[in-house]
């Protein structure tokens, strides 16, 4: 209802405005209506992931009213659909401008999901009798989908030059259902997938005032945002812990929070065509949450002692950025910079006492300092050389044992534009990261050998080459290649290497103003090598644990069932994509045929190697495993096909018609979802993200009137 009021107000103000000023004016625009008849088979949610294509008529209106002093633009798209969008922008030339916007975005995940719970859509999920029914035909059916509505408006004042002022507000509402999951018991057990309600509202206010007149620029900005969640928790009856309907388990949902940010930006021009720029900012995020004093575990409710019943979350950030840019003489461009970013966690540390265990929440924070330089040289023979160096140091608090990273990044790009019809560029960048890991000294702990990839020491080399050709005015052709090789040189357990290649090719050719041909081809290959160690023991774990990956494999039968062995996995991902298209101007400015075909394909593979002696006689859990049957060939495979033909006929300068056909196909083949079973192994799943494959045939016919 609210959206209708806003849209109505926007249209009314637009009409009123048109008649408000008696002056020379020009009104132009376009109204189009497109009738769509889709036939979709399969995963309709994936097809309409961010769209709302269904039988019906899609109306688009665009008007531009430009007078000598004032202007007003209006745009409406997809009226009445879940993707509808409206916008008004107006103002007085050179003095002020304002805008109002309304926009809807759907995000569809899965249609026809199922759950044994009743109350789906709310914040309390239950079921009548324990255990819940495993007959999915008796379950509740629902859609995992989120609708986002965004209302906004703003005002910009420029008439007081050199001063300016900006203000804008917006509200975003999100509603829908999203899949979350909970472990059935406190230390694991079955997985229970829960449809969590999304009822979010975010309000934002942005203000900026500034002064800009050569050689100065200063601005002061303020941003304030509040996030509100109608549901702080999702209550659910847990089928794993034997709870009664009255003993509900609780899943916590994102808390309300407030965020503000203040920033000062500035710049001053200096002698020798130099400029000093700065950006200083400070922000704070706060959230106060009443904590739960108990939780449901197998056998009943566990009560815990907390040093404070309320968590006062507070995270502040500070950032300082300075950059000096200079072009003292034509062949040299220089940039020198220093950046500082600090995240300070000022939340309260709460001590939890849970039976014999006592622990506190760590207060993770960090600071990042970075400085560097970039120098660009114009060399003889149309060569341009850019060299850059950056040093960064990240210091952390309360993140396991990883206090510091030091990064040194060197790079150079060489560009040649010596020919009228070609520009070529090659580049190289090297990153050397040192991770100051303070892992436990005890070699009998696995953690001793682990290096987490986001902070691990690494050498990364990146090579790239790009060639752009434009031999004649209407022909462009380009080739690009990039290779990135990351070697985590100190990692024993974890991600050891990451290699990526990319190749792109593009072309565009207009022939005799009658035919435009365009094509692209993309190829990307990713290879990730990961080395791991399994140490599990069902009973009586030996002491010390055989954690050292240098140890030989240790496999013992039940009852101890100890397994300790290394394994590695190489994940590869091969992506291909191409697009071909043609615009055929059959009758110039009268009849145009557009043809387009796009295709993408991705092959994912996981190549596992178990460094152990397979012996089903000793290890019953091997269940027939051999080195040859543990790989996964459909590790996220998919293919998309798209065909479109569209014929446009301009009957007059103001009236045109178009008609066409689109075929889309998406084929997914994923080992983690193939053979989906809602209740396998006692787990309770809901079908989230299953069966996304679809095939769609869409016919469309449109008429457009321009005025």
């Amino acid at each position: 209802m609210r959206s209708k009021i806003i849209i109505g107000t926007m249209i009314f103000s637009w009409i009123a405005f048109l008649n408000a000023f008696a002056q020379e004016r020009r009104l132009e625009g376009e109204v189009s209506v497109t009738g769509v008849a889709p036939k979709i088979e399969g995963g309709k949610a994936k097809f309409n992931e961010y769209r709302d294509i269904r039988d019906g008529a899609y109306v688009e209106i665009e008007t531009r009213y430009h007078a000598d002093q004032y202007y007003l633009d209006f745009r409406a798209q997809d009226i009445g659909y879940k993707t509808q969008r409206y916008g008004i922008e107006g103002g007085k030339w050179g003095s002020f401008k304002y805008h109002f916007d309304y926009d809807e975005i759907p995000h569809n995940f899965t249609y026809g999901a199922k759950s044994f719970y009743t109350g789906v859509g709310g914040a309390k999920l239950t079921f009548p009798t324990q255990p819940p029914s495993k007959d999915i035909n008796t379950w509740t059916t629902f859609d995992y989908s989120i609708e986002r509505k965004n209302y906004g408006g703003g005002f910009k004042l420029d008439m007081l030059k050199p001063f300016y002022f900006d203000a804008s507000v917006n509200r975003e509402e999100r509603k829908g259902l999203y899949p979350v999951g909970a472990a059935g018991t406190s230390s694991g057990g079955i997985a229970i997938e829960l449809p969590a309600p999304i009822n979010y509202m975010t309000d934002n206010l942005k203000l900026e005032a500034g002064y800009i007149q050569n050689p100065f620029f200063f601005s002061l900005g303020y941003f304030y945002s509040t996030f509100r969640n109608d549901n702080s928790q999702l209550d659910f009856r847990n089928p794993a812990n034997g709870s009664t309907a009255a003993t509900t388990d609780i899943f916590t949902l994102p808390p309300n929070n407030t965020y503000y940010r203040l920033d000062l930006k500035g710049g001053v021009k200096l002698p020798f065509r130099s400029k000093f720029n700065l950006d200083l900012a400070s922000s704070s995020t706060q959230s106060d949450v009443n904590l739960l004093s108990s939780y449901v575990a197998l056998g009943g409710r566990n009560f815990i002692n907390l040093s404070s019943p309320v968590f006062n979350g507070k995270v502040d950030t500070q950032s300082y950025n300075f950059m000096l840019t200079s072009n003292p003489f034509r062949p040299l461009d220089a940039k020198l910079f220093y950046k500082y970013y600090e995240r300070r966690n000022k939340s309260n540390s709460i001590t939890t006492t849970d039976g014999p265990n006592t622990f506190s929440n760590p207060l993770f924070d960090y600071r990042n300092q970075k400085y560097g330089a970039e120098l660009g040289f114009k060399l003889p023979a149309s060569f341009n050389l850019t060299a850059a160096y950056t040093h960064a140091r990240i210091e952390r608090r309360d993140r396991d044992n990883i206090p510091t990273n030091t990064d040194d990044t060197y790079g150079a790009d060489l560009r040649w534009s010596g020919l009228d019809f070609m520009v070529a560029k090659v580049g190289y960048e090297r990153l050397q990261r040192k991770g100051d890991f303070g892992q436990p000294a005890d070699p009998n702990l696995l953690e001793h050998y682990v290096r987490r990839y986001d902070v691990a020491s690494r050498d990364r080399n990146t090579y790239k080459a790009i060639v752009d050709f434009f031999p004649i005015e209407n022909l462009n052709f380009s080739l690009g290649y990039k290779y990135k090789d990351t070697n985590y040189n100190e990692t024993i357990l974890g991600l050891q290497s990451d290699k990526r290649s990319e190749f792109t090719m593009d072309g565009d050719y207009l022939i005799a103003k009658r035919v435009r041909l365009f094509a692209y081809f993309d190829f990307a290959y990713v290879k990730l090598d990961q080395f791991q160690r399994t140490v599990t023991s069902a009973n009586n774990p030996p002491s010390p644990l055989p954690a050292d990956p240098g140890n030989p494999p240790t496999i013992t039968p039940a009852p101890q069932s100890l397994q300790a062995f290394n394994w590695k996995v190489t994940q590869t991902e091969t992506n291909y994509g191409y697009g071909l298209g043609a615009d055929l101007y059959i009758l110039p400015q009268k009849l145009t045929l557009k043809l387009q075909h796009n295709w993408t394909k991705s092959d994912g593979y996981a190549d596992y190697t178990y460094f152990r002696a397979f012996n089903p006689a000793i290890i019953p859990t091997d269940a027939g495993r051999t080195q040859d049957n543990i790989d996964i060939s459909n590790w996220g495979k998919y293919e998309t096909r798209f065909y479109m033909a569209r014929l446009t006929y301009n009957l007059t300068k103001t009236l045109s018609f178009a008609g066409g056909y689109v075929y889309e196909k998406f084929i997914a083949d994923d080992a983690q979802y193939n053979g989906y079973n809602y209740t396998i192994g006692g787990n309770f799943l809901t079908g989230a993200y299953t069966n996304p494959s679809y095939e769609a045939n869409i016919a469309f016919l449109s008429a457009a009137y321009r005025f």
């Binding site: 609780i250 200096l270 970013y341 939890t352 660009g376 023991s537 983690q672 053979g675």
Partner: protein, 305 residues
């Protein structure tokens, strides 16, 4: 010490005085022929100019209040005298005739005093010879005078980003619901990769405010950089993850028990020993609050509530 302080204080005062008395840029008016002469040969361009914002007299300092076409193209007399050949005796925005810096300088002579371009020299674009006319044309009525709509315009150069946008898991960029400029400051800013925030997380939180927390139980890589696990433009893995769960999680969590267990084809739905650590969302089947939790005791600490 005091002497040093006085000396250091004197330096910004010098800069200020220099800036105050900085000579204004001189625009020559010799050889100007006027828009009517230009129209005689370039009527199409003239008409499009007249429909554009540049022709609005209400805007102080617009070309309409200066020299019309010649505000950007320079005085046209020499061009007229030399028979009007393309690019002869006049400035045109052609990559074969003018370099990127010269072309942008023309635009910046007016738009340099615009807050949107106040950090243009900080941006990556000018240092790789991208000029204003690569993206904008004054001879059009498109929004912001752009030569194409986003993301197609940006993808002309950023081709590997185009390939990522075409992947099955993606932000709604190609669907027209998110623009490159919603996240990137194409005209220059201090953020890494010209993002419109001081850090990646502060950028992501603008839309994903539910992830802001602050949570009692934090997952440090999440707090430090969303891009530790996610990629921004597109991925083959759902939720824009950089690689597939459980292997993504196991790259860091290799402890005893299930974190370090190598789940293979045997643990999938169709395997002989299906496991909820492998099928469907794998680790995330249970550890759903991976972005942070206020859950009680070990349930919050392990991100399962």
């Amino acid at each position: 010490m005091k002497k040093y302080f006085v000396s250091i204080s004197f330096f910004p005062i010098l800069i200020f005085l220099w800036a105050i008395f900085l000579p204004a840029e001189v625009r020559g008016s010799d050889g100007v022929v006027g828009v009517e002469i230009c129209k005689g040969c370039h009527e199409d361009h003239y008409n499009s100019y007249m429909r554009s914002t540049h022709a609005k007299k209400a805007i102080p300092n617009s070309p309409a209040n200066l020299e019309g076409c010649e505000t950007c193209h320079g005085p046209g007399a020499a061009h007229v005298e030399k028979s009007g050949e393309r690019g002869v005796g006049i400035f045109i925005f052609s990559k074969k005739i003018a370099d990127a810096r010269s072309k942008s300088a023309k635009c910046l002579s007016c738009h340099g005093e615009s807050r949107d371009l106040s950090f243009w020299d900080v941006a990556k674009h000018p240092s790789v010879d991208v000029s204003c006319d690569n993206c904008h044309t004054v001879h059009s009525m498109t929004p912001k005078n752009l030569k194409a709509t986003q993301p197609d315009l940006c993808n002309i150069c950023h081709r590997s980003i185009r390939a990522q946008q075409n992947k099955q898991s993606h932000h709604p960029i190609r669907d027209g619901k998110l623009k490159c400029t919603d996240c990137h400051d194409h005209h220059g800013g201090f953020g890494q990769h010209m993002i419109k925030a001081e850090s990646v997380n502060e950028l992501c939180y603008k839309c994903h405010a539910d992830k802001r927390g602050p949570f009692m139980w934090q997952h440090p890589p999440v707090e430090e950089n969303c891009l530790s696990c996610h990629t921004a433009h597109g991925s083959n893995v759902s939720k824009l993850l950089v690689s597939r769960v459980p292997l993504l999680c196991q790259a860091c969590h290799a402890d005893t028990g299930h974190p370090g267990t190598g789940n293979t084809s045997f643990e999938t739905f169709q395997g002989r020993t299906p496991s909820n650590k492998m099928f469907a969302r794998a680790c995330l089947n249970c550890h759903s609050t991976i972005h942070g939790s206020n859950g009680p005791s070990v349930q919050g600490r392990r991100f399962v509530r």
